[in-house]
């Protein structure tokens, strides 16, 4: 299949790209791994496609305990980079749990964060979906919703965000650097995403023409010895998460001094588990603390007809991840 024709522009300078991208009907493409699927099935029909993959935004640097990842870095390059592998293994783990080797060679960090939901109602033109066609309703809420979210849903959208990387970045308090014609701004990663409203469900807070230029992670190498990305899926590889957990702990003198937990596959955005984190800090790692974190992780979860199993699964996944990095079961 091919989608409607579009005007193709290869951007060589960021300011050109920003000016072109702000025009009506324009969209950016980098690795294209998600965009091509959307375009081929008619779900994306831009007038203009601005190819930004040659912009010089693929640098990776690590200085003063700040890891800076150029947004156009390929996933495979990031996962293989020593500063990521050694000092931020959680990011490498999450990337290597994503997609396939071929896709990771093409896909970029920025594109990964902005991939659209896998909800089959979003992906099937003609079905009710407020995210694709505002006001059309949500077919998943009373339909096939095994994949659907437990948290942060609205009456009009129960879709999840599919990125593994975003879950790891959320756990590490990453910041997103966004460029626009008006200048540069920084966002906390969760603020990149929006929760759905009753009849609309835009994915991100970015305005037309905005480009993610970099991702910045500060003061995270302290978690390198104890971090893990646990991804549960329906087959062994090349599949989106049913539930995933990014977990990182800092343990000093037998006491948890810092804890980071975020969950994937359960919400419209990477779902930070602040309550669970708070329950861990100041306690000794072990069964009681982990169980408390698991219990708090599922507080407020709202199941639909076919996804209730994700609630005990999430609790179990949080506990398993903590067991894996906590040094005790």
């Amino acid at each position: 299949m091919s989608g409607p024709s579009f005007h193709y522009i290869e951007a060589t300078r960021l300011d050109d790209a920003l000016a072109q991208g702000a025009r009506h009907g324009a969209t950016y493409v980098a690795g294209g791994t998600d965009f091509l699927q959307l375009w081929k099935t008619g779900l994306a029909a831009p007038k203009t496609v601005i190819d930004i993959c040659r912009l010089p935004l693929a640098e990776i640097s690590y200085a003063g305990d700040t890891l800076s990842l150029g947004a156009l870095s390929r996933l495979s390059d990031v996962a293989a980079h020593p500063d990521v592998k050694i000092h931020h293994p959680l990011i490498a783990d999450a990337i290597l749990a994503s997609a396939s080797g071929q896709l990771r060679n093409m896909a970029t960090l920025g594109g990964n964060l902005l991939q659209r939901t896998r909800c089959p109602y979003f992906r099937s033109a003609g079905l009710a979906c407020n995210k694709r066609a505002p006001g059309s309703g949500c077919g998943a809420r009373d339909g096939e919703n095994r994949h659907a979210a437990l948290f942060g849903t609205s009456s009009g959208c129960v879709a999840t965000h599919a990125s593994d990387l975003a879950v790891a970045l959320a756990a590490l308090d990453a910041e997103i650097v966004v460029a626009s014609a008006a200048g540069e701004r920084r966002l906390r990663l969760p603020d990149l995403y929006l929760l759905p409203a009753p009849t609309t469900a835009p994915d991100s807070s970015l305005a037309d023409g905005d480009v993610i230029t970099a991702i910045s992670i500060h003061d995270a190498c302290r978690f390198a010895p104890r971090s893990t990305y646990l991804k549960i899926r329906d087959r062994a590889s090349f599949e989106f998460a049913v539930v995933s957990v990014a977990a990182a702990l800092q343990i000093e003198d037998g006491v948890i001094t810092a804890a980071r937990l975020a969950a994937g596959g359960v919400a419209p955005l990477p779902w930070r588990l602040h309550g669970s984190e708070a329950a861990l800090v100041g306690r000794a790692p072990g069964k009681a603390a982990f169980a408390a974190a698991g219990d708090l992780a599922i507080e407020g979860a709202t199941p639909l007809a076919k996804n209730a199993f994700k609630i005990p699964l999430l609790r179990s996944a949080v506990i398993r991840a903590l067991q894996t990095i906590g040094g005790v079961s």
Binding site: P120, S124, L127, V242, S316
Partner: protein, 729 residues
């Protein structure tokens, strides 16, 4: 006949890209076509507004039901002659243009008006309206022998459960494609089909033209699994009509999404099964199947048929019913009937063994059927007991409970089950030509789906004449060749074998007589039963005398020799014995019950399917079948949106099939059988791997975590047990 693991005849062609698949044929002036689909599941096509489309760049033609009026009415033309809409995504028009992008663009400009009626989008909405077909394939749909009710009443143990299986789609790597054109009154049709002669016959009927004016070619296929048959024909006809309207060649290829809706599926089943036992022996079986079919055509797998004959049992009752839904049409899919049917029967046998305190393997041996109890006939050959024994030994079944039950996060479980599939033949012909230089050409109008038919054809002929494979050319996939069998039902090798054998036997007789009749030649005066064919020589068994084949030919038949052979179809009513292939499959799985994850760790399967021509290719068929079975057991499920009837997740990102990381080591044992009833002792093997393993996996899950899962696929939510903090670690 000697078994020989020749590499695939076409291997080099395929890995070097020289094999030309029919969709790659690109005649000058080729137009590209696309289908426009109905957005409703049930109703009527009201109008096709094509005012704007012809103004689009590259537009060539639009084909609709109006154009189909020129076709003869038949099962293959109903969907394109009638405007009724039976399922979501049913094509309502075809657009052809200079490029595929232009065809898509023009198609977007066509306005379709439909009138929707209430749709039945899932089986459970119309269970009360289920109908009882008379036949399931070549078997009666309902059978009864003995007195089931009394036997169940008197049984010491009754296992009674409902088993359900979901819709699966075939998904060969190569989608359906046609490149076709007209040469005056003649049609040339390059298409990816499992049946070139049936395709030709259907075109002849629909277009009311003599078959000799139609050439259908399918020389290479990227898989089929049962879907490259009749459901493709209406859309192929539309491509042919587009070519006739424009006078240009037309190419139509289905999208991956259309492979979910237009070319068939494995039907959903709900199966009520009861087994009665006395003294560990089956005394009663009831197997009642309800399955989905489409609103426009009834189709039923032979799901309960195998419960009539796999085990010895005096009292058996089976039924099949169908629920018509506004969903796509089911067709046979690899291991039709046996895959869903053995899932129920073999799962129940495992449960019975547990309740009886018997080893599941021993229970099967104890209930072995020493003849076909449904027809009363003997088996043509049956080595199922050997499969059980050999498979169990290689797997280490007897010692399984001594093995460790835990490996890190995984709880280990073991399971086993039986598989079977009928051995049948189609009538066909084959031609063998021996050239003057003693090179060989084998011709048969069958297809190679990727399963090894090229190699098998060449090997049978080469072996009979003592000629190396390097000197053999095989031609298939063209209706200009002798009528070959369709590629389905695990029948091709068994069907072509007698035809090729007959042709080569004629050539051997001619050559022997030519060699012996030359009094001055090295074999002068020898009798034909003294002569053997080996190493490009005709050789005397009783002396050292031999002569090169090429010398015999140069002297007596410099232009070479040709012979044709025929195979007869299995004559079911007159059969003296029932032909059946068997297998026993043993699996080891791991379940992480805290996270619900399940992985197959080890598969060992022993198969008995007559004589194996090529162990290398046979292994590939068995392993491929087993992987398909793992997919049905753990991954594959086609979902329909209840509200709209739209199939959801029509892509490989959403419809999961096993990836390499899901595949364990496969240990395959092949038990050779001499079968006095089957030519060459050849039975089909393609279906065997894809049945049985589903029940073996379900039984292994029970062995690991104590849960009986009676539906497929088995997924995370089925295996999710207590959380990590309560489960033992």
């Amino acid at each position: 006949m000697n078994a020989h693991s020749h590499a695939r005849y076409e291997a080099l062609l395929k890995v070097t890209g020289q094999a030309r698949f029919e969709g790659e044929i690109a005649p000058a002036g080729l137009l590209h076509a696309t289908l426009i689909e109905a957005p409703i599941a049930c109703g009527e096509l009201v109008s096709v507004d094509a005012v704007e489309a012809p103004t689009r760049p590259g537009f060539a033609t639009l084909v609709t039901h109006d154009d189909s009026a020129s076709l003869k009415s038949s099962a293959a033309t109903t969907l394109i002659r009638e405007t009724a809409i039976h399922f979501h995504g049913q094509p309502v028009a075809l657009v052809a243009a200079s490029t595929l992008a232009e065809a898509h663009d023009a198609a977007r400009a066509v306005r379709i008006a439909t009138a929707a009626r209430p749709a039945v989008t899932q089986m459970d909405q119309a269970l009360g309206a289920a109908i009882a077909p008379e036949m399931v394939g070549r078997f009666p749909a309902a059978t009864r022998r003995g007195d089931v009710a009394t036997a169940l009443g008197e049984a010491e143990l009754v296992i009674r459960n409902r088993y359900s299986t979901q819709v699966n789609n075939h998904h060969p790597m190569e989608p359906h494609v046609v490149v076709c054109w007209w040469e005056g009154p003649k049609a040339v049709v390059h298409t990816s089909t499992q049946a070139i002669f049936a395709t030709r016959a259907t075109i002849a009927q629909a277009f009311d033209m003599p078959p000799r004016n139609i050439r259908v070619l399918a020389r290479f296929l990227g898989g089929g699994f049962g879907c490259k048959g009749q459901l493709w024909w209406p859309w192929m006809f539309w491509a042919m009509l587009a070519s006739r309207k424009t006078g240009r060649p037309v190419r139509l290829e289905l999208s991956r999404a259309q492979m979910f809706t237009l070319v068939g599926r494995r039907q959903q089943t709900e199966q009520d099964l009861a087994l009665g036992f006395a003294n560990g022996r089956l005394t009663a079986i009831t197997h009642d199947v309800v399955a989905q079919t489409s609103a426009h055509t009834d189709y039923s797998d032979s799901t309960a048929v195998y419960s009539r004959l796999l085990y010895a049992c005096p009292n058996v009752s089976t039924t099949h019913r169908l629920v018509r839904t506004n969903e796509p049409q089911p067709v046979p899919m690899r291991a039709p009937g046996t895959a869903p049917g053995t899932f129920a029967l073999e799962s129940a046998m495992d449960e019975a063994a547990e309740r009886l305190g018997l080893d599941p393997l021993d229970l099967r041996v104890k209930n072995f059927a020493d003849h076909d109890q449904e027809t009363g006939r003997p088996w043509s050959s049956n080595s199922l007991l050997s499969c059980y024994r050999v498979g169990a030994e290689r797997f280490g079944w007897a010692d399984r409970q001594k093995r460790k039950k835990r490996d890190g996060r995984w709880t280990i479980g073991f399971g086993m089950a039986t598989t079977l599939y009928p051995a049948i033949r189609q009538a066909c012909r084959a031609r063998v030509r021996l050239n003057g230089d003693a090179s060989l050409v084998v011709q048969c109008g069958t297809q190679d789906m990727g399963s090894g038919t090229y190699t098998a054809l060449g090997q049978i002929a080469a072996d009979a004449l003592g000629i190396p494979m390097a000197k053999v050319t095989v031609e298939l996939g063209d209706t200009w060749l002798p009528d070959g069998p369709f590629s389905g039902g695990s029948q091709v090798t068994a069907s072509i074998f007698p035809a090729v054998q007959s042709a080569t036997a004629q050539l051997r007789a001619m050559l022997a007589s030519m060699a012996a009749s030359d009094a001055n030649g090295p074999l002068g005066g020898k009798t034909s039963d003294d002569l053997d064919f080996e190493g490009e020589l005709i050789r005397s068994r009783s002396s050292n005398a031999a002569e090169r084949l090429s010398d015999v030919l140069a002297r007596t038949a410099p232009d070479g020799l040709v012979a044709e052979g025929e195979s007869a179809a299995t004559d079911h009513p007159k059969l003296a014995a029932t032909g059946m292939g068997h297998g026993a499959v043993f699996v080891e799985i791991g379940v992480d019950s805290a996270l619900g994850e399940i992985r197959v760790r080890r598969v060992c399967a022993a198969f008995a399917a007559g004589r194996i021509l090529n162990p290398l290719l046979a292994r590939s068929q068995y392993v491929g079948g087993l992987i398909g079975g793992i997919g049905m057991a753990l991954h594959e499920q086609t979902l329909t949106d209840r509200a709209t009837g739209c199939i959801l997740g029509k892509s490989f990102a959403d419809y999961l099939i096993p990836v390499h990381a899901d595949m364990p080591e496969f240990d395959i044992a092949m038990i050779e059988e001499d079968d006095p009833h089957l030519p060459g002792s050849v039975k089909g093997i393609g279906m065997l791997g894809s049945a049985g393993i589903q029940a073996a996996i379900a039984s292994a899950v029970h062995d690991a975590i104590g849960k009986r899962i009676r539906h497929l696929p088995i997924r995370i939510e089925d295996c999710l047990g207590p959380a990590c903090d309560t489960a033992q670690r």
